[in-house]
């Protein structure tokens, strides 16, 4: 008899990862796609053990100074975008350099190498994501959102939104609303 199996590689990886992490009594969050967040810093010994046990499944821990730094930059950007303090665009480079403790030129190059995108684009991405969230809460008008996210004008905001998504803020809102109704109807 022949059995046909169907499986999801991601779920398997996740499962294996969870088992191994659990056996080492680590406190963690699986971020998916080859990333695990350890909530407290374990010893080098523990990491080594984990690496050995995961190697049996063809998984290896990639410890990279660069990735850690990039994550730090990303966190700093998210924090910056989501704070209600208004920061002029010209000051973001100084803010990030200060926060990471490296020159802006260095972190900007590093960021581009690792993520295939620039810090400026990443900031826009995060800002637009925040804008999307604000649009969907339906509490603020487009004008208010533009002001809250420190855009110089509604036109500038709409333009950047359109540049990032190909859609106007109102079209975005309409599509998401329709999609929700669509799911509800099914």
């Amino acid at each position: 008899m022949k059995l046909y199996l169907k499986f999801d590689i991601n779920s398997i990886c996740k499962k294996v990862l969870q088992e191994q992490l659990d056996s080492l009594h680590l406190n963690y969050t699986v971020l998916g796609f080859g990333e695990v967040e350890l909530n407290n810093s374990p010893s080098k010994e523990t990491i080594k053990k984990l690496n050995q046990s995961l190697n049996d499944y063809g998984i290896s821990v990639v410890e990279s100074h660069k990735s850690v730094l990039v994550q730090k930059i990303k966190d700093a950007i998210v924090e910056m975008v989501y704070s209600d303090e208004k920061l002029s665009t010209s000051k973001t480079s100084a803010y990030l350099a200060d926060k990471i403790g490296q020159s802006y030129g260095y972190i900007s190059n590093l960021f581009s190498d690792v993520t295939y995108t620039s810090i400026a684009n990443y900031i826009i991405l995060q800002k637009i994501e925040r804008a999307k969230q604000l649009i969907l809460t339906n509490e603020l008008t487009i004008t208010e959102i533009a002001w809250k996210l420190n855009y110089s004008s509604v036109a500038h905001f709409s333009n950047q939104f359109k540049g990032a998504t190909g859609l106007t803020p109102s079209a975005f809102q309409r599509i998401i609303d329709k999609r929700k109704n669509n799911i509800r109807n099914i």
């Binding site: 046909y4 199996l5 169907k6 499986f7 999801d8 590689i9 991601n10 971020l31 998916g32 796609f33 080859g34 990333e35 990639v62 990279s64 660069k66 990735s67 990303k74 690792v114 993520t115 295939y116 995108t117 990443y122 991405l125 994501e129 999307k132 969230q133 969907l136 990032a164 998504t165 190909g166 859609l167 079209a171 975005f172 309409r174 599509i175 998401i176 329709k178 999609r179 669509n182 099914i186």
Partner: protein, 148 residues
């Protein structure tokens, strides 16, 4: 560093477009594996086969015989197994109705096929990169809409 190869899949009945698509990815510096399928029926048969590795991102031509891109989109969105696949519509048409309809049906990206190879490369590269951002930054994929 990108540690994983991004799996890209395309369903398009036009041979030339499949060629452009593959050639474009060959020239893009992002690590990808590209699978192309000749139409919607072939695509769905493939996806429903057991034991296959699902793509990270699927490009769908809209105008295909048998099963149109929209048919495939609906089928994929109705099946929970495929919920992690990002769907990019890849079409000649760029009518607002088509764009809105596919987004409402659950597509994440709408690409109007560029009429220049350089532009095609940059567009595909941008799409892959942005999709990657969503994957790696824990962003809400429900809000991921891109029309390019």
């Amino acid at each position: 560093m990108q540690s994983e190869i991004i799996r890209v899949m395309l369903a398009d009945d036009d041979e030339d477009d499949r060629l452009f698509f593959r050639e474009a990815f060959e020239e893009i510096k992002i690590k990808t594996s590209v699978t192309t399928l000749n139409n919607g029926i072939e695509l769905m048969d493939y996806l429903n086969k057991p034991n296959i590795v699902l793509p990270h991102i699927l490009f769908l031509d809209l105008n295909m015989p048998g099963k149109t891109g929209l048919d495939c989109l609906r089928e994929i969105k109705a099946n929970d197994t495929f919920k992690d696949i990002a769907i990019a519509i890849y079409s000649t048409s760029s009518s607002d109705e088509d764009i809105e309809e596919t987004f409402v049906q659950g597509a994440n990206i709408y690409i109007k096929k560029p009429h220049d190879f350089v532009m095609l490369k940059s567009t595909l590269s941008e799409v892959i990169t942005l999709n990657w951002q969503y994957h790696t930054n824990g962003l809400n994929r429900d809000n991921f809409l891109l029309s390019i």
